[in-house]
């Protein structure tokens, strides 16, 4: 069982990495790119048989308190 957490910078927050990569893509000839946002991907291995709902609740807490910083980042949590 795995939990996947995708962390992205909030829209209002400056994302210089995203901007730089966007500009590099344009230089390389990739047209039609209107935005690049660079964040983090965290994969968490869960013990087999873990209760999905309980894991979701616990990991939402961890993502809010520790894995992401809600002032500057948003996150998405998937458990599969």
């Amino acid at each position: 069982m795995k939990a996947k957490i995708i962390i992205t910078p909030k829209k209002a927050v400056l994302d210089p990495q995203g901007k730089t990569v966007q500009s590099a893509l344009a230089h390389m000839g990739y047209t039609g790119v209107t935005g690049v946002h660079i964040g983090k991907y965290i994969e968490i291995d869960l013990a087999p048989g873990t209760d999905k709902a309980a894991a979701r609740q616990a990991l939402n807490g961890a993502a809010h308190k520790f894995l992401s910083n809600p002032i500057i980042e948003d996150y998405k949590l998937e458990i599969e």
Binding site: P9, V13, L14, P16, Q17, T20, F66, N69, I71, I72
Partner: protein, 236 residues
């Protein structure tokens, strides 16, 4: 007067802070991050460095160190806490100061002297800085761009909580003088109660003339005077 200088794994400005404080005539000692007590500390310095390798986010892991519980308690009791560079990042992650520090807008690590304009003498960290004096102090960071949402910025302004702005040699807070893209050229702030402050520049690296500037000493002198005058409550 006793200064506690915290040490996390990969703190690297802890020795500089101890040196500067002792040079200026006061006692300072290290407090390891696994300690749960600050002992007889009158002031806590959260020093610069790369605590926990800056993994995840700068300061994100350090804030959960056992000593940070004691720091929070100390701050809640009115004790003075100053976070420098990584220490500023730790204090924002810990929720002791509002906002966050993100990657410099040009993605470069900046290591240079900058000028600071003090925005208010109304704090234990700024009241002894000579009026109008610009502070020439070094910065050394890759993630010092101060960010807070508009509501928080408005609150900081209304509460007079912005302590220092980046400025040019004439004291103008221009965009060109902003080394990292910080909103409003913010270099340092304090909390609403005015006993916890953080700044990205390093006053401890500019507290004796042989280092090219001793302007940083004014921040320490402010702290010394605040404690001497007992204008702040000292935590038990």
């Amino acid at each position: 007067m006793n200064f506690a200088v915290l040490q996390f794994p990969a703190s690297n400005c802890d020795q500089d802070a101890i040196h500067a404080i002792r040079l200026l005539g006061h006692a300072a000692r290290y407090v390891w991050h696994k300690e749960t007590s600050l002992g007889d500390a009158d002031v806590v310095i959260v020093p610069g460095g790369f605590s926990y390798g800056d993994y995840l986010r700068c300061g994100a892991i350090a804030r959960f160190s056992p000593v940070m519980q004691a720091v929070k308690q100390f701050a809640d009791n009115g004790g003075l806490v100053l976070g420098i560079c990584n220490g500023f990042q730790v204090l924002t992650e810990a929720g002791l100061l509002p906002g966050a520090l993100i990657r410099n807008r040009d993605l470069q690590f900046h290591c240079e002297h900058i000028f600071l304009k003090t925005a208010t003498p109304d704090s234990p960290f700024t009241h002894k800085i000579p009026p109008g004096k610009l502070l020439k102090i070094p910065i050394a960071h890759g993630e010092g761009c101060y960010y807070a949402d508009e509501e928080t910025l408005a609150r900081l302004k209304a509460g007079n909580q912005i302590l220092w702005h980046y400025c040019d040699a004439n004291g103008n807070p221009t965009d060109a003088a902003n080394p990292n893209g910080s909103l409003l050229n913010i270099a340092g702030i304090c909390n609403a109660r005015r006993n916890v402050a953080g700044l990205m520049p390093h006053p401890e690296r500019a507290s004796e003339p042989m280092l090219g500037s001793d302007d940083g000493k004014w921040i320490f002198e402010s702290i010394f005077a605040a404690l001497k005058n007992k204008t702040v409550a000292v935590a038990a």
